[in-house]
């Protein structure tokens, strides 16, 4: 009797052990294929199957069967809801939605998330922008007084818009805030139905590329870093820490893949997301707006705390214990196992102004020749004129003299100095300030490209 009971116990143990080994492990990730900042933890990792490369296959994972479930969303908020409902394990989103995620989870009695890695950042907050219809007479935020500004409420762009209006001495009575989604806002800008639209990348650049919108304010002017990151359910991370580490290794690899060949990355990303490659290049090229650095920097924690304070004020969101929420243990392990120096990467902050001024002044994406670099804007403008006539000009790129940010050449404002040298600016007021100090004349790209023997029509009034 005793023996048979023992046999049953042994058999049960054996079956249990078998079932643990053959456990099916779900890896459910919510990402945003229309938000460039999330790509290094989203679409790139998915399409290149990078997590698979690092998944643990030893010990308790020996016979584990991994089941991937990638879900694409338009914004971060529904990702948080799906994570709460246990339908997603990981979420990739921007700074404001990340904070809402952490706070909403901490508000519950039994659930938590951990902020485990970044995906990209811009030191000065570029990535969000306010765009006006291309023919609008609005050039500054002050010009928006009495007009409407649409923005997706609750998004990172919304937080930026509120701060920018405050800084410009405007309040919600001066500017009519409308709540509009990225596609609706972009359509309204194209049809001149709204005074301005605030959005997150790549929407403002899509509007610029399509020739429907023009930036009047870039997030960089707010001076608060803009970042995206990855959150994971804490119960999942506790159960499968090695899977979290594998995911972070995949993020690091995705960043390396982009840096290795930005043109290939931009082209592939167009294929995977539908967002034009010329727009992708603006972010992912050398000197592009995004820095694919997953480390968690103390400066980012400060920025997230600032964002949380804005959200508490505007949306009454719950408190967030940052010490419990931010956890860098997994990323440190991932770096260590990949033979990378975490401290070095964490302490480095990419400042586009000094860094991008070391690069070629301008670039052209030629239909057949690929990306061509030019030492001066003047050379680029000459080439652009020729390629435009030949209909082989995909896009042109220059750097804003004030922030160092990469811009589409066709939407920049140019100042031609007395010595004939061109300087590019994102905003017309900055070009005017430059002229007040150094002299020169303002030009637009179209006018410059068409200019031959009639320079007078090139002047922007």
């Amino acid at each position: 009797m005793k023996n048979s009971a023992l046999c049953v116990q042994v058999l049960a143990l054996f079956l249990c052990a078998g079932s643990v080994n053959a456990e099916s492990i779900r890896i459910a990730i919510g990402h945003q294929s229309k938000c460039t900042d999330t790509y290094s933890a989203g679409i790139i990792v998915k399409e290149l199957e990078l997590i698979q490369k690092y998944l643990p296959k030893e010990g308790k994972y020996k016979n584990a069967k991994y089941e991937f479930d990638w879900k694409d969303y338009d914004s971060g908020a529904p990702i948080t809801n799906q994570m709460l409902a246990n339908k997603l394990d990981f979420g990739v989103m921007g700074d404001y939605p990340l904070i809402v995620n952490g706070a909403k989870f901490q508000e519950t009695d039994s659930l938590e998330t951990l902020y485990v890695a970044g995906t990209g950042y811009n030191l000065n907050g570029s990535g969000n922008a306010i765009v006006v219809p291309v023919d609008s007479d609005v050039y500054t935020l002050a010009d928006l007084k009495g007009k409407s500004l649409s923005v997706p409420v609750g998004s990172a762009a919304w937080g930026m818009a509120l701060k920018a209006l405050q800084d410009a001495g405007l309040n919600t009575e001066d500017v009519l805030i409308k709540n509009q989604s990225p596609p609706v806002g972009a359509a309204n800008i194209a049809q001149n139905k709204v005074g301005a639209h605030g959005d997150f990348c790549p929407w403002s650049e899509i509007m610029e590329f399509r020739g429907t919108g023009r930036k009047i304010f870039d997030g960089s002017e707010a001076g608060v870093p803009y970042l995206h990151g990855v959150v994971v359910r804490k119960d999942y991370a506790d159960k499968y820490p090695e899977v979290v580490i594998a995911f972070i290794k995949a993020i690091v690899t995705a960043g390396e893949w982009v840096r290795e060949d930005p043109v290939r990355a931009a082209s592939k990303l167009e294929e995977w997301t539908g967002v034009e490659r010329e727009v992708q290049y603006l972010y992912f090229s050398k000197g592009g707006a995004l820095t694919l650095d997953p480390t968690i920097k103390p400066k980012w924690i400060e920025a997230l705390k600032f964002d949380h304070a804005v959200l508490v004020k505007e949306k009454s969101i719950p408190p967030l214990n940052f010490d419990k929420w931010i956890y860098d243990g997994f990323i440190r392990t991932a770096y260590k196992e990949m033979g990378l120096d975490y401290e070095k990467d964490m302490s480095y902050i990419h400042d586009p102004k000094p860094e991008n001024m070391k690069l070629h002044e301008a670039e052209i994406w030629h239909k057949d020749k690929g990306v061509l670099a030019y030492n001066t804007i003047t050379e680029m403008l000459d080439a652009a004129k020729k390629y435009k006539t030949e209909k082989t000009l995909r896009a042109s790129y220059v750097y804003d003299d004030v922030t160092g940010l990469k811009l589409f050449g066709n939407v920049a404002t140019y100042v031609k100095s007395k010595d004939g040298k061109y300087t590019a600016f994102m905003r017309k007021p900055d070009a005017e300030k430059f002229i007040a100090l150094n002299g020169g004349e303002i030009y637009t790209f179209t006018a410059l490209a068409e200019m031959e023997n009639k320079p007078s029509i090139a002047k922007l009034n």
Binding site: D74, A85, P97, V153, S155, I177, S181, P183, V184, A187
Partner: protein, 221 residues
């Protein structure tokens, strides 16, 4: 008293069970059909996608992944069973709006529809009994206000401008209310639903009181 009220309701519903059933079902269909129609008219867009979720599996997942029952219940109240909406092909197929059927919210609508149907059959019942019930128009108006409040508080629409989460205030924002005001009103959703249900319950109690006292008087006479 309660027993007497229950008997009156049972009798009224039994006598008019076809009307009661048709009204309950009709109001539910009218509400959800109307919600979809208003959205289609508002956006001039016909839904171009439909998703039906395995809601039982979803609830199971929530209970499996949430140690606290309180948390689990709070989470599952927003889970959709059916979702239809419009994905904008010009902007990479992003769903600009969607219409959802969320079981716990449908339950409130079903309860409200049953209450309104009960109110109507009680009106018919009292007329048949020649029982005088206050100002009928006012009672009907109050029932309308009550069901309107529940209808407003139970709207399950999403709009990307409201960050694509189903909320009753999305309906208000779609109808033109400023987003700041709509978001400010969001926490009052439950109170609005409760007010609506309480209002209809109150007028039903008034009807029952009148019918019961009339029956009492009739017996005495």
């Amino acid at each position: 008293m309660m027993h007497e009220y229950r008997t009156i309701i049972a009798q009224a519903v039994k006598q008019q069970w076809v009307l009661w059933s048709l009204l309950t079902m009709g109001l539910i269909f009218l509400y959800y059909g109307g919600l979809l129609l208003v959205t289609v008219i508002r956006f001039h867009e016909i839904p171009n996608y439909l998703e039906i979720y395995d809601i039982v599996r979803v609830y199971q997942q929530i209970f499996e992944g949430t140690p606290s029952l309180k948390d689990a219940l709070q989470i599952l109240v927003d889970e959709a069973w059916v979702e239809a909406g419009y994905k904008n092909p010009e902007y990479y197929g992003i769903a600009t709006w969607s219409y959802m059927l969320i079981p716990p919210k449908m339950f409130i609508v079903v309860v409200m529809a049953a209450l309104v149907a009960t109110f109507v059959v009680l009106s018919v019942y009292s007329r048949k009994q020649a029982c005088p019930i206050g100002n009928r128009r006012r009672l009907y108006a109050a029932a309308g206000v009550g069901s309107g409040l529940v209808g407003m508080g139970s709207a399950t629409l999403t709009w990307v401008v409201c960050c694509a989460t189903p909320s009753w205030v999305v309906g208000l924002a779609m109808l033109g209310m400023s987003s700041s005001l709509a978001l400010w009103l969001e926490p009052f959703g439950k109170i609005i639903n409760l007010l609506g249900v309480a209002l209809v319950l109150w007028i039903i109690s008034l009807q029952l009181k009148s019918i019961a006292s009339y029956a009492q008087r009739s017996k005495t006479n």
